[in-house]
Amino acid sequence: MSLVTPLNRVLGLGSAKDGIEHWWAQRLSAIALTMLGLWLVFAFIGLADLRYDTVVNWLQAPSSSILMILTLLTLGYHSQLGVQIVIEDYVHASGLKVSALILTTFVHFGIVVAGVFAVLKVALGATG
């Protein structure tokens, strides 16, 4: 007689808490970042200088704003997934591990929200 419930058996996860979602999300965001990352690199190469007016003019172009927001969302997600794995692999004290996971989640949400808001503010022309 098996003590495994029918639901657990059909999910096929054993003692794991979830399946391949994390692995897949990391690959999906990686594929997106190969393109978005190279876009950002070539954008920096294309900018004549990093003076305020130059950068604002560049970022106000819809193509720049849209790609920068996509980059921020994707890199924030990919970074969160990666840092999470590193913490789970190397931090073993459960209290410290959970605290580190909470902290990294907060920081990543902070980075993404701050970055996206800043791009929108510049793009919609609300700066002085």
Binding site: T34, L50, V83, I111, T127
Partner: protein
């Protein structure tokens, strides 16, 4: 009952460093460094959105010599993590798993990352 402090595997000290293990560790380290770099990217965008005065003040700090050295470091982290990430994606679909291919692609990734870092550092950061 007292716990006996037995040695834990993997016994890293008994392994000879190999390009496979070194590059794997480097992939994690560069990823972590890039996560810190994301903070600087967000900070740069926020001061840009704050206005020209705040941007000029921040630019004085952001263009310091020490941070320029950091940008060169981050650009290597980026190009290495990108190239080695693509190497991982090829492995994920089952390509390039022969030991000789793994060695070759490993050195290829290092050469590409070093060259891209040099070009980017000279053309943008300096």
């Amino acid at each position: 009952m007292d716990r006996v402090e037995r040695p834990l595997s993997p016994h890293l000290q008994v392994y000879r460093p190999q390009i496979t293990s070194i590059l794997s560790i480097l992939h994690r380290l560069t990823g972590l460094a890039l996560s810190v770099g994301a903070l600087v990217l967000a900070y740069w965008l926020v001061v840009l959105a704050t206005g020209p005065v705040a941007y000029a003040q921040a630019a004085a700090i952001l263009s310091s010599v020490w941070l320029k050295i950091c940008y060169a470091g981050w650009s290597f982290c980026f190009f290495y993590h990108l190239a080695n990430g693509v190497r991982h994606l090829f492995w994920d679909v089952g390509w390039g798993f022969e030991p000789s291919q793994i060695q070759t692609s490993g050195w290829f990734v290092l050469v590409v990352a070093s060259m891209a870092t040099t070009v980017f550092s000279v053309s943008v950061i300096l």
